[in-house]
């Protein structure tokens, strides 16, 4: 029983190809979901941090579209296919790029899905060329319900819209091998900042204990708010997304040349990007990188926010110092109390070498567990910072074990975080004897060596 059949024009094939090519940058397989009124292609990337959804309106995009349904699939039919195999079928042929081979161009493309009991599950695409050649491809698929990402539109108070062409041009300024993009607004200067940077570190030195930033470069692109169609963003709100995903989206968006609209709430919460043209609606939901003090940021009034702007990057240095000194005292709270910092998932990083870098201090007699005590501790350790290495990235490395969701209340990964928080404590139990036997590191922190009585308090 034919569940679904539709016909695409030559242009339709090209549009479908662009969509699939865009999805291919996120994932290897695509979920096809057919309903009476639309065909939806969705995919979720392997780390489940990005979700892509293309909806093709039945009456506008296709030259013919017919969802028959079957007793099994009355309302909708969904299946999963390899993007790679679809890409090779739905691609422009000969004539599109070469006028002399106009004959080899696609005339029409008929796609049918035939499913039912006792039938081979095949998607059959029959492509007719102008010269009379007909190619028919039959692809196996897996009947599978798609996974859709949830996005709470009510929660997302921040939004902006801009022509995708303009945005694509800005992207040219992004350097190579950058990973993260920080989008924030500056109401005073009436600009939106796109700051791109990477936190990738490379190990240096024989013992691999020294980590330096691979690309210590921040590129900030300030865009006048006039360029935007609509900006309604909490001032100084830093939202950080992956550049790779953003690039993939923009590359596709500029083809459709529609307006790209975004909406998001807070760091650590998803961000939605949409644009559409000619019966195709493109939706992307990207997870944003969570900031440590997102909770803090959220509860601040916009006024307080602008007064005491935590511009993430400038503040990073001192912040990370504070964090590291806190960590020396008691690792567990430092995870919770760590200030503004951009986090990327631990998986993409080398294991944190925190406790290889210097001998872990024994827990102070009055192990301060409350955050309040910490702050005073920070003050006391101020002189420590003089002895810090000039490059603060190594501290950053130490703190990289925070997951995205570390501070969002509805945190599904909470157990994981606590396990991360616990781990250092276990390590510190195990390592001290070993480190003490091997001797002292050439450079020491003041706070570390005090216990040896070298410096009086």
């Amino acid at each position: 029983m034919v569940v679904l059949n539709f016909t695409l024009s030559e242009d339709g094939v090209a549009v479908l190809h662009d969509a699939l090519a865009c999805m291919f940058k996120f994932s290897d397989d695509v979920c096809l979901e057919a309903r009476k009124d639309k065909l939806t292609l969705t995919t979720l990337n392997i780390s489940k941090s990005a979700y892509v959804c293309f909806s093709f309106a039945a009456n506008r995009f296709f030259s013919k579209y017919n969802f028959e349904g079957s007793p099994q699939y009355r309302e909708r039919f969904s299946c999963q296919l390899y993007i790679k195999s679809l890409l090779t079928i739905f691609r422009a042929r000969g004539g599109a790029s070469d006028v002399s081979r106009e004959n080899a161009a696609i005339e029409r493309c008929d796609v049918a899905i035939d499913d039912g009991v006792g039938k081979k599950s095949r998607l059959v695409a029959r492509i007719s060329f102008r010269n009379g050649i007909t190619a028919s491809h039959s692809l196996p698929y897996e009947v599978k319900a798609p996974t859709h990402a949830k996005f709470n539109q009510d929660e997302a108070g921040n939004c902006w819209a801009i022509s995708s062409k303009t945005l694509r041009q800005l992207m040219d300024h992004f350097g190579p091998s950058i990973e993260l993009l920080d989008i924030n607004t500056d109401e005073e200067n009436h600009v939106v900042n796109f700051t791109c940077f990477t936190e990738k570190v490379q190990k240096r030195g024989a013992t691999n204990s020294e980590a330096v930033l691979k690309k210590p470069l921040h590129t900030n692109i300030a865009v006048e708010m006039d360029e935007f169609d609509d900006v309604s963003v909490e001032d100084k709100m830093h939202i950080i997304i992956s550049v790779k995903d953003f690039r993939a989206i923009l590359q596709h968006a500029q083809i459709t040349s529609g307006d790209l609209a975004t909406s998001y709430s807070n760091p650590g919460r998803p961000m939605k990007l949409t644009y559409g043209a000619d019966g195709v609606l493109c939706e992307f939901i990207l997870m944003t990188v969570g900031e440590k003090d997102a909770t803090y940021q959220r509860h601040k009034t916009p006024k307080a926010n602008s007064a005491k702007a935590p511009t993430s990057r400038p503040e990073l240095d001192s912040a990370s110092h504070r964090a590291s000194s806190a960590q020396q005292v008691q690792p567990a709270p430092s995870v919770e109390k760590q200030p503004t910092q951009h986090k990327i998932p631990t998986a993409s990083r080398p294991p944190p070498p925190a406790f290889d870098m210097r001998p872990p201090p024994p827990p102070p007699p009055t192990a301060p567990r409350s955050p309040g005590l910490f702050i005073s501790q920070d003050g006391g350790d101020d002189d420590d910072h003089q002895w810090d290495p000039v490059n603060p990235d190594e501290e950053e490395e130490e703190n990289a074990r925070i997951e995205w969701h570390s501070n969002s209340e509805s945190d599904p990964f909470a157990p994981r975080i606590s396990s991360f928080a616990r781990k250092p404590t276990q390590q510190s139990d195990a390592t001290p004897p070993e480190r003490l036997v091997s001797g002292l590191e050439p450079t020491q922190r003041l706070s570390d060596v005090r216990r040896f009585g070298l410096f009086s308090e």
Partner: protein, 363 residues
């Protein structure tokens, strides 16, 4: 006349070489040879009218290319008699019923490498590469302009000579004062028999544009199939290529509709049967280089299932050259045949219809 005079001068030399030829452009030579580039060794047969190159892959595929005499500005032979008696002069052998020839084997990749030593054929591909990669340094970018020798394929002269049997084939390439001499070792020929093809008893003959055959293969190739079945039938779909055995599903290409699709179409199978044989996809794909440069292809199949593809290549300057390929099909087992028929019957529906006109005029 001019050639004869040169010949006489040569024959006055102590030992006239068996073969000597000079070409002003290596590009057509390279292109023709490249299309049969699927093995390491090529059989070279030098005759009075040209050179025949035959390659053979596991005795299931055979490719033959010819360098016609007229590709060269000078072409001289001093071939030994078939009985291997050294002939006193080349003109004597004309009376011999069997044309004299000399054969040897040579390394095909080495020969190809030699012919494009000045990048005659490579310029275009290099240019394409540099277009793709715009960030390449300008300093190192040897992009040639449209009128460079390389783009025109006039990389000086190329002279080939084969002094005596067992001697290396010597190729001298000259370009703007730079002489490159390459001596390619020749090997004793194995004298492989041609794949038998019953030209008197053809099952079908189809002439179409080579480019379309290439398109059809390009349509099937991405699924990386293992086998390709070629079906020729009197009724629709007339000519069908079906791929199978790939991990991403199966595909088929029909040459069914369209007025000018098939130039010649003759099917001589008895009792309404179709000619259907399965070949290894990869060996058919090795002919794709020929499909690229050829203008027309003649597909023929004999009653034993052997497929012959003959490509007509228009050489720069208007002359024609032919490339011959022969393919041996998979042996058909009963079970396989059954399943093939089943899938065809299933897929054949739905597309039969409108305009199935074509010229069934034959030869």
């Amino acid at each position: 006349m001019a050639t004869q005079r040169t010949q006489r001068q040569n024959s006055s030399a102590p030992v006239p070489p068996i073969f000597r030829a000079v070409a002003s452009s290596t590009r057509p030579l390279y292109q023709l040879l490249k299309s049969i580039n699927f093995t390491h060794k090529v059989h070279v047969e030098i005759t009075e009218n040209g050179i025949r190159f035959a390659t053979d892959h596991a005795r299931v595929m055979q490719g033959v290319a010819h360098w016609n005499k007229n590709l060269f500005t000078t072409y001289l032979t001093n071939l030994p008699e078939p009985e291997h008696r050294p002939s006193s002069s080349a003109s004597d052998s004309e009376s011999d019923p069997e044309p004299p020839s000399t054969t040897f084997q040579i390394s095909l990749p080495a020969l190809l490498e030699t012919l494009q030593i000045f990048g005659a054929a490579d310029a275009a591909s290099r240019q394409a590469k540099s277009d793709v990669d715009p960030y390449r340094s300008n300093l190192r970018n040897y992009r040639s302009d449209a009128f460079s020798n390389q783009a025109l394929g006039m990389a000086g002269t190329c002279s080939l000579s084969y002094a005596a049997e067992g001697d290396p084939l010597s190729i001298v390439l000259e370009e703007s004062g730079v002489n490159t001499t390459c001596n390619l070792t020749t090997y004793v020929p194995e004298i492989p028999e041609d794949i038998p093809f019953d030209i008197e008893n053809l099952s079908f003959k189809i002439i179409t544009q080579a480019r379309w055959l290439l398109d059809a293969l390009a349509e099937l190739a991405p699924a990386s199939p293992e086998k390709l079945t070629i079906t020729a039938s009197k009724k629709e779909p007339y000519l069908r290529l079906t791929s199978s055995g790939g991990p991403l599903g199966s595909s088929s290409v029909d040459f069914a509709k369209g007025r000018d699709l098939l130039e010649t179409f003759v099917v001589n199978t008895r009792g309404g049967k179709v000619w259907s044989n399965t070949f290894k996809f990869d060996i058919l794909k090795s002919a794709s280089e020929a499909m690229k440069i050829a203008s027309k292809v003649s597909l023929r199949g004999d009653s034993q299932g052997v497929l012959s593809m003959q490509f007509m290549v228009e050489i720069e300057g208007g002359s024609l050259s032919f490339l011959d390929f022969r393919f041996v099909p998979y042996a058909i087992s009963e079970a396989e045949e059954g399943s093939d028929d089943g899938s065809e019957a299933e897929e054949g529906e739905g597309e039969v219809g409108q305009d199935g006109e074509m010229d069934l005029d034959g030869e």
